[in-house]
């Protein structure tokens, strides 16, 4: 078993009196494609915001690639890439201009060369000189992914990456994620509520319900125990209470 690259230790977030993420403790091994499932308002995005250093935890901490989230957030930032939900980038700039800016902001050496290499890696070089404003949702997502891997992070965080994509776009993104994981050994942490995507892409999953971890296992163990995608859905529904439909926002 490879060593863990992400380790959460009683990670907690509160908004006023409400606990939205409740003492999450689990770890993810290096090289995993991890699917973080949960109903709307379960606390997935809040957890992701903490892990990407965008929000400070109320208590607890996490270690990412050896850097502590609370004590060394800059160390964490150097090791992670992040693709937020609905990232659109700057419409009036070309794909290359957008990427050059974020490469420089990430202090990437030889940014021009790296930008071209990433665009080539994502089969997007022909679009380098085109303005992002004219791109399809799928193409924007591809450039969004490009900005996240410019500095060659060890861990890539994706928040609902397939949200709003058509089936072609979903397939394209899935292939890219798989390539980044297999060819570059990048650990992927993916927030989603699409069970079908989890089954096709992930190597391990966790289910969050009302801020609490209710399930965490490797995907082989899940499929061995529950069978196909439909059974995975059954599993998800069985660990997620019905109240989620009327519950947290």
């Amino acid at each position: 078993m490879p060593p863990s690259i992400i380790a959460l230790d009683r990670l907690t977030q509160r908004f006023e009196d409400r606990t939205v993420v409740d003492a999450l403790t689990f770890s993810i091994a290096e090289g995993e494609v991890f699917g973080f499932l949960g109903h709307n308002g379960a606390g997935k995005t809040t957890t992701l915001n903490m892990l990407t250093t965008l929000a400070r935890p109320a208590s607890g901490t996490a270690t990412i690639a050896g850097a502590d989230l609370v004590r060394d957030p800059n160390g964490v930032r150097r090791s992670i890439g992040f693709v937020p939900e609905n990232v659109r980038l700057y419409d009036t700039l070309t794909a290359e201009e957008n990427l050059m800016f974020f490469a420089r902001l990430s202090d990437v050496p030889s940014p021009a060369r790296r930008v071209r290499a990433v665009l080539e890696l994502l089969d997007s070089l022909p679009y380098a000189g085109r303005r992002v404003g004219g791109f399809s949702k799928g193409m924007r997502q591809r450039i969004g992914l490009a900005q996240a891997i410019l500095h060659q992070p060890k861990v890539l965080f994706l928040d609902e990456p397939t949200s709003g994509l058509d089936p072609m776009g979903i397939r394209m993104l899935r292939d890219l994620i798989t390539r980044l994981n297999r060819e570059f050994g990048m650990t992927i942490f993916m927030n989603t509520h699409l069970i079908s995507e989890i089954a096709k892409t992930c190597t391990s999953i966790a289910v969050l319900s009302h801020g609490r971890l209710v399930f965490h296992d490797r995907i082989e163990a899940v499929t061995a125990r529950y069978g196909d995608d439909a059974a995975l859905e059954e599993l998800y529904l069985s660990v997620t209470p019905d109240t989620s439909l009327a519950g947290a926002a």
Binding site: T53, N74, R77, F82, P84, R88, L93, R104, L105, Q147
Partner: protein, 310 residues
């Protein structure tokens, strides 16, 4: 290059690609040009008439009266510029300040800054630097156009002291524009919707430019920004004496008007601001307050949110 400088440079590039910003900034520069041309034309015409009249009077052997062009300060020819700064210049500053933040929020890139710069002051510093650069450029263009006009004026020498007043006026105008730009920057960072972020500074501008001066300078709102007529004094009534003294201290537009009139030599002899606080102090306090407002807004900007609320 430091992250703050990178962010400033990127912000400049983005803002200068915005057609709204370009149109309103161009309008301001064109109005300054028109103002300069009108001033130049009027002075040149009066001077031409005087030259013809002088030649005629000399041929008749009669004494020459003084040239009326020389009786007024050449700087007062730029009085319209003060109006354009108060109106279209401030609107340009508000649009620029708003776009500097709104573009980032609309593009959903705030989390990308957050995961790179964290809670360091780089983002706030970069945005303020970009605003200062843009306001400086806008004021600088207006100053160069006006300076060229003064240099081209026939028979009107500008003394070193007047040049100092001239540059002081443009520094003051730059600060005035910066104050509104900072308010817009802060409002765009704090508001949950894009339209409110723009409406807030526009409302403040309307109040400061049209409402407050009617209590501190004259009953007619348009008179408070009219550079052609002399500055209007508050009506001689107890209420207006009181309101001019009280509200004059917060009437930033009125303070700018007094300072401009003083620097451009069109303030009536012996006229003093009726406000409790001197105009320069009011303007400087406004700039500092706007800076703190913008800084607080930028430092508390929620980088986890990738978009405006809808």
């Amino acid at each position: 290059m430091s992250p703050a400088n990178l962010i400033a440079r990127q912000s400049l590039r983005l803002t200068l690609r915005e057609s709204t910003v370009l149109v309103i900034a161009a309008l301001f520069v064109v109005l300054v040009l028109v103002s300069a041309w009108l001033g130049w034309r009027a002075t040149a015409t009066v001077n031409l008439i005087f030259t013809d009249a002088a030649a005629f009077l000399q041929s008749q052997g009669r004494a020459l009266p003084p040239n009326p062009v020389l009786a007024t300060s050449p700087l007062s020819l730029l009085r319209n510029v003060a109006v354009y700064v108060s109106l279209i210049g401030v609107l340009a500053a508000i649009v620029v300040g708003n776009r500097l933040i709104a573009l980032d929020r609309r593009s959903g890139v705030l989390p990308l800054y957050g995961t790179r710069t964290g809670d360091s002051p780089a983002y706030a510093t970069g945005k303020v630097l970009a605003l200062v650069a843009l306001m400086g450029t806008l004021t600088g263009i207006a100053a160069v156009v006006s300076a060229a006009t003064l240099l081209a004026l026939p028979a009107v020498p500008v003394t070193a002291g007047q040049w100092a007043q001239f540059w002081a006026f443009f520094v003051l105008s730059g600060l005035y524009l910066l104050a509104f730009g900072l308010v817009a920057l802060g409002a765009a960072a704090r508001s949950r919707s894009e339209s409110v972020g723009l409406l807030l500074p526009v409302t403040l501008w309307l109040v400061l430019t049209f409402v407050l001066p009617s209590l501190t300078g004259n009953l007619l709102p348009t008179a408070s920004i009219n550079p052609v007529s002399a500055l209007a004094a508050p009506p001689d009534a107890a209420f207006f004496q009181w309101s001019a003294w009280t509200f004059g201290s917060v009437s930033v537009a009125e303070s700018y008007r007094y300072l401009s009139a003083g620097l451009l030599d069109f303030l009536p002899e012996g006229r003093l601001s009726p406000a409790a606080i001197p105009p320069l102090a009011t303007l400087l306090i406004a700039v500092v307050a706007a800076f703190l407002w913008a800084l607080r807004g930028l430092r508390t900007l929620d980088l986890t949110r990738s978009d405006y609320d809808v």
